[in-house]
Amino acid sequence: MIHSVLIFNTSGTPRLTKFYTPLHQPAQPLIQKIFSLIATRPPGVCNFLDAPDLNETLRAPNTAPGDVRVVYRNYATLSFVFVVDGAESELGILDLIQVFVESLDRAFENVCELDLVFHFDEAHHILNEVIQGGLVLETNVDEIATAVQDKTRARKASLTSSNPLAIGGSSSGSRNGSLQTPMGWLTGRLTGVGSR
């Protein structure tokens, strides 16, 4: 089972955190601890590590002690970290990270850290297409991309029908597609969106 999925940048700021098992302590120290585990890894070591000190916090009641493992992979400025139990194959999880990253990349068109900052609800959405409740739901990048696109299309259609003034609905999640048109700006002013 997958206990949690985390994305950090190089300075340790969590860009996405998702826990699938109940925590037995506050999340922030745990997140910092997980980051410290991977941040102190020298180059040239493998992408898996045993994390027995996370046992008490993350272990499900029916798993064996010493079972919690961290699988991580670095992409540019982001580290993708999956905390799993012994039932999962480490190489399988490594492939799953690749699937998740490719899905993000397809959805955001050259994904970067900013996409996770300003569209992290989309990132959650894509993660939900890959993993649900700690179980792997889909590993086919094409299927995931199709599901995300279908939902984006359905969302746009429903938004357009509910808000005729909006051109093209809300942003698609892409940085390039989110530039506001004058009509969008006007809509924002009229409906109060964006004003503080």
């Binding site: 999340a27 493998c46 590590l49 027995p52 046992n55 190489l91 900013l114 300003f118 992290f120 808000n163």
Partner: protein, 925 residues
């Protein structure tokens, strides 16, 4: 964040500004302040100018983003208005996106046990029955993520859930299976067995059908595989039936289901008959093990070897199929790709060593597998070169790979690892082991560095050469060190020391793999720490320029290694570890005294010894010196005062484990033993010992006699220490006298319970700021309370909230009600009459508070302070007392009351300075 708004991709200026401020914050306090300010602004807006649903999703997205940054928990009341908005958006959203964001916010932020779940149950049911597939998918996702909070709703939706297994949409079918899996497999606490049995009974035939259906979507079949394995384990499906359904997946080399099918097969193989096992091995698994044109993808290696490990070793011998072919294909990359090394070692860890070492293939029997037959022909095994390549993992810089290599070595022959341990402790450049090692044969079998390896077949020669060589890391670094040393002697000393320490850290890793029993682990840890102390003292004796502080420094890495290892072990291990460590303390202390020619006194209650100093307090009666301590009187064995790491470890372990192993401990004896040590230690260790004595005094029951001689001795020692020490130690001694008395013991237990964790630093923090003393117990309740049982309820309010499986944001909220059935299936049932807390004694019954009143107070943006809350509740109570007897409240009266409250709170809020706000963030919990 150096990016402009236009190129940021932000949804709005407001989101951009918020992100910019949070990214630019320099401290966690600044981030918290920004988050709180944002939430207050949102609450204010919701209270005064509620946004339309169309723009509510933007508020939810920005708030969710902000909550990701909150480092301290937020008051539940702060998030209530936004949570209500999220529930509204999820249930009444006009588009899929709105509903999705509403659901997402509720999934991540809604605290466990929140009353809002009642509202969401109806919404969930409505969406599950919807004809719009995206709504069904959203509801299923919510159910999957928060199923533990929705157990009350399950009877209402279980039939819908089962019917969704046959839904025409593939994503819905996948999610329905996933929801069933999480409910049936991962339910954390006491889900009604009837519900689970019902779901399993209804779902089993459908799941089997999905597995067998070749035209079914791959994703659906993959989801069904995991659930099928569980259904077999719970007895709802026959194992042979499921195995027959999944075996065809193995034969297709292009099937993406092979990996998952092998994982499930590994779980089911032990449940089927041996004839079926042999059949699957010969037809399906052997095909995977044979050399092929296209090598197996490495991702299926571990599941494949799990299947092999689930089969009897004799069966694998009889099949005469080499199990090493896939691993051989991976072997060339072992040096360049550490992931390959990890995979190979994991696979070898799963296999019986006889299958790959070739060590016992000529033996007539295999004792470990209990086979009493002559085994067939010689099975394939690794060559010496191959074994040597794999065993290079011992020298890896990756601790995980080292650990796995040690486990594999132990599986081959524990004595090889034992010899390696000895070579790490006593490398050739160090002297022979201390006399204590060879003179303590009763503890465990002696480990001599000169011990020869057991007779091994030639293929094991790759292993046999192992312990004689030193780790490559050490060698290469030594070379660097000697080069550096030629130019700067002090640098050389430093590097050598660090290398020695690294070698000893490795020895402790080996000890963790070698020992299954706490006593043995404690002995090996003692060996490592003794070697460390000897190494340091020799450096000091040779006149090397070694920093004195470093000689007496605590090796934090060693402490951490031991504590982490103990966390993976059970209470028996802890108990034997503590007993063996305390025994070593005693013997080491006694030998140290005798070596210095100091006469000792003996104690009847403790085998510990103390200095015969007329000024110092003496133990109650003469102890007998342990036999081992006599043997330890050698010039090489270091004194306990030169092993600060050992003292820190035993203190930390006692603090963390003493409650769980209390039955096997004699608290008074440990206190006395530790007190005896006090005089010979440095001030920092004295502080530690006094703290642990305070901690252990909480273990003493009511029956502990205050006039007990041993306790009196402890008091005398600490009084003596108090008189002769500086201000800092004096303070700790005062704390001992303050907390150790019998009438304060209950309060001390409350202090321990109030600590964030059982660790020593948290105990100290809790001791420095103790919670208020609990009210005295009545005679009856006191007599019923076990003396060792904490009397106060565990103060877990923040951490209970953290138990919800969601993002950190959700963990900021404590549960609002205990786990009881909350759902009222009878519509419009009369609200229960709740006795008012002020009037219950006099027999009056209060009318339920108006929902309007509750809402207006809850959405007040300034109600983030519990003191204010308490005050406002008090005000409300006052108002309600005046209201008794009044049949109803008019809208005007209500507005006046609400308005006056808001004004009062605004005044209070203004009076509360920002400094106060920052100083007491915890008070907002």
């Amino acid at each position: 964040m150096n990016v402009t708004f236009s190129s940021s991709g932000a949804l709005s200026r407001a989101q951009y500004n918020l992100a910019h401020r949070l990214e630019s914050a320099n401290t966690a306090e600044e981030e918290d302040a920004i988050v709180r300010e944002h939430i207050r602004a949102i609450n204010y807006r919701l209270a005064h100018r509620p946004p339309p649903l169309s723009s509510a999703s933007e508020i939810l997205v920005s708030t969710l983003y902000a909550l990701n940054y909150a480092t301290t928990p937020l008051a539940p009341v702060m998030l209530d208005p936004i949570l209500r908005l999220a529930a509204d958006v999820a249930s009444a959203g006009q588009s899929t996106k709105q509903k999705r964001i509403g659901y997402l916010f509720c999934t991540e932020v809604l605290p466990k046990g929140s009353g809002l779940f009642l509202m969401l149950v109806n919404m969930l049911r409505k969406d599950l029955e919807s004809s719009h597939p995206p709504y069904i998918a959203l509801a299923l996702s919510f159910l999957i993520n928060r199923h533990d909070d929705l157990t009350d709703a399950l009877p209402a939706i279980q039939d819908i859930l089962v019917s969704l297994l046959k839904h025409s949409s593939v994503p819905i079918r996948k999610r329905a299976i996933c929801a069933l899996s999480t409910i049936v497999i991962s339910s954390q606490d006491g889900l009604n067995e009837d519900i689970i049995a019902y779901l399993e009974m209804r779902a089993s035939p459908k799941i089997l059908q999905r597995l067998k259906l070749a035209t079914e979507d791959l994703g659906v079949r993959k989801a069904a595989l995991s659930l099928a394995a569980h259904l077999v384990e719970s007895g709802s499906l026959a194992s042979q039936e499921v195995v027959d359904a999944i075996v065809p997946y193995l034969s297709d080399p292009k099937s993406p289901l092979r990996h998952r099918a092998l994982e499930v097969l590994a779980r089911l193989l032990p449940r089927i008959s041996s004839s079926s096992q042999e059949d699957i091995l010969s037809r399906n698994i052997s095909a995977l093990l044979k050399p092929a044109k296209h090598p197996l993808p490495s991702v299926i290696f571990v599941p494949l070897y799990r299947c092999l490990s689930a089969l009897p070793t004799a069966m694998l011998f009889r099949a005469s199929t080499s199990v090493l072919v896939p691993l051989r294909a991976l072997l060339p990359s072992i040096g360049t790709n550490p992931n390959s090394a990890w995979t190979i070692l994991t696979c070898l860890q799963l296999l019986d060593a006889t299958l790959w070492t070739g060590a016992q293939t000529s033996e007539p029997t295999l004792p470990r597998t209990g086979i009493g037959e002559v085994l067939p022909n010689y099975l394939d095994s690794f060559t010496e070169q191959e074994v040597g390549k794999i065993m290079q993992g011992v020298y890896s810089t990756d601790s995980g790979i080292r650990h796995k290599t040690f486990i594999v070595l132990r599986k081959v022959d524990p004595s090889i690892l034992d010899t390696y341990f000895t070579s790490l402790i006593f490398p050739p450049n160090l002297s022979s082991p201390p006399a204590s090692r060879s003179s303590t044969p009763t503890v465990r079998s002696p480990r001599s560095p000169a011990r020869s390896l057991p007779d091994s077949p030639s293929r094991l020669s790759g292993l046999s050469g192992l312990p004689k060589s030193r780790p490559r890391v050490v060698e290469s670094s030594s070379r660097n060190g000697s080069r550096a040393g030629s130019s700067a002697g002090s640098v050389n000393n430093g590097i050598t020391k660090s290398l020695d320490e690294r070698r000893l850290h490795q020895a402790l890793e080996v000890a963790g793999v070698l020992e299954d029993e706490g006593g043995g682990y404690a002995q090996r840890m003692r060996d490592v720490l003794t070697a460390l102390a000897v190494s340091r003292s020799k450096d000091k004796g040779k006149g090397k320029e070694v920093d004195r502080k470093r000689v007496n420094a605590v090796d934090e890495k060693l402490v951490e290694t031991v504590l982490i290892h103990l966390k993976t072990r059970d209470n028996n291990f802890h108990a034997t570890f503590v007993q063996a460590s305390l025994q070593f303390l005693k013997s080491s202390h006694a030998s140290n005294l005798l070596r210095n020619g100091i006469p000792v006194k003996e104690s009847a209650s403790s085998p510990f010894v103390s200095v015969d100093d007329s000024e110092s307090p003496s133990p109650p009666s003469p102890p007998s010196i342990p036999d081992e301590s006599v043997q330890l009187r050698t010039p090489d064995s270091p004194s306990i005062s030169s092993m600060p790491t050992f003292i820190v470890i035993i203190c930390a372990v006692l603090c963390e484990c003493c409650d769980s192993i209390a039955p096997s401990l004699n608290g008074v004896e440990i206190m006395q033993d530790l007190a005896t040590l006090l005089k010979s230690l440095t001030a920092s260790l004295q502080e530690l010992i006094v703290l642990i004595i305070i901690r252990i005094s909480a273990l003493l029951g009511e029956e502990a006699d205050e006039a007990d001689q041993a306790l009196q001795y402890v008091r005398d020692v600490i009084r003596h220490l108090q008189a002769s020490s500086g201000r800092f130690i004096r303070k700790r001694c005062e704390q001992y006298f303050e907390w150790s008395s019998m009438n304060k013991r209950t309060h001390l237990r409350a202090v321990i319970e109030a600590a964030k964790s059982p660790t020593l630093p948290d105990f100290l923090m809790s001791l420095e700021s103790p919670p208020p003393a609990p009210a005295p117990l009545t005679a009856i309740s006191a007599s019923r309370t076990n003396s060792l049982t904490p009397i106060l309820p565990s103060p877990r309010s923040p951490s209970d909230a953290h138990k919800s499986p969601s993002s950190p944001a959700s963990s900021s909220l404590p549960p609002t009600s205990p786990r009881t059935t909350q759902l009222r299936y009878a519509a419009y049932e009369a609200p229960p009459i709740v006795p008012h807390k002020f009037m219950s004694q006099s027999g009056f019954v209060a009318k339920p508070a108006s929902p309007l009143r509750t809402r207006s107070s809850d959405i007040n943006p300034f109600r983030d302070d519990p003191d204010e809350d308490a005050a406002s509740h008090s005000d409300q109570d006052e108002d309600m007392r005046e209201d008794f007897g009044v049949p109803s409240v008019s809208a005007g009266e209500l507005a006046l009351v609400v308005g006056s409250e808001t004004l009062k709170k605004k005044d209070r809020f203004k009076a509360r300075s920002p400094v106060q706000e920052q100083l007491f963030p915890q008070s907002l919990i």
